[in-house]
Amino acid sequence: MRARDNPFAVHRIHALRFRLTEDGWRELLARLDALDLRAAIVGPEGAGKTLLLEELGARLGTLGRAPRLLTLRRGDRRPAPEARAALLAGLGGGDVVLVDGADELGSLAWSSLRRATRAAGGLVVTSHRPGLLPTLWTCGTSVELLADLVRELVGSAEAEVLRPHLAALFDRHRGDLRAALRALYDLYGASPATAGPPPGA
């Protein structure tokens, strides 16, 4: 199978939207307001925190806020000086700072960033653990959610073929949906028609 045709190619996974109804969004935005726009999205690896943060940023943009995103990678104990300077330049009440992976920061760097963003209208972060800021949303995963995403990517008929593999993939990757979808890339690419027998069959 050509990589471009694999339904689990990265560009197709990135096109998936966070599973939240319009009522859910209203609830989330109301809660964010109640938290004075300072809050955390919490959840384990591959649970959709980054996706939710990005979509929240877009929603805030349509509401007249100016989102500013800082993305931290594993091991980033402090933001790169240029990234920090760009993030904080001319920061005002209309801006909402979004920090993806805030729990990567060391305690001093986190305190410093929190202080430096006081001028902003809001600060929303993602973190694997609660406690950095009041929790806005806890992201969780399930085999059913994985099955739903697979259905969206490949359609109902092929999703049924892949269905027997999903529980084992979910367990193997400890609920990390990103990793499970990556594994499905190989599985699907190997034989899209059947993807082979399910584990233990």
Binding site: R2, A3, R4, A9, V10, D186, G189
Partner: protein
């Protein structure tokens, strides 16, 4: 409802390096754009993160809500269009309206034969001699 469109002359989508890709971009937008650009790009799709190469870009002069722009891009020597199991490399002409980032994209194939190069599938014992 905004739309943009990229049409290649004579509907041609297969090219060889060094050839010229000609066509027209047209658009109708909900509001006045800050800029409209037509770009010749290549990009990857597959298991890994996407790489993108911008080869040439042509801005529309004083673009309005509706408009059109002819383009002629000379293709470089490479990279060629190809597909393997892990990554595909694709060429395209895209039209982008800023700042909304409305876009349209038409794919093309670039290779010495004018066809996408299909890489052989790796087998576990390949090269294990």
């Amino acid at each position: 409802m905004s739309w943009l469109k990229v049409e290649l002359d004579e509907g041609r989508t297969s090219f060889r390096p060094g050839e010229v890709v000609r066509g027209t971009a047209s658009w109708s937008l909900d509001g006045p754009p800050a800029a409209v650009e037509v770009r010749l790009i290549w990009f990857t799709q597959g298991k890994g993160d996407r790489d993108v190469g911008l080869v040439e870009s042509v801005p529309a002069a004083a673009p309005g809500i509706q408009g059109g722009l002819s383009f002629a891009f000379t293709l470089p020597d490479g990279p060629y269009s190809f597909s393997g199991t892990l990554v595909s490399l694709l060429w395209a002409v895209e039209a982008v309206a800023l700042p909304a980032s409305d876009a349209a994209l038409t794919e093309l194939v670039v290779s010495p034969s004018g066809r996408e190069i299909l890489l052989p599938r790796e087998t576990p014992d390949a090269g294990a001699r």
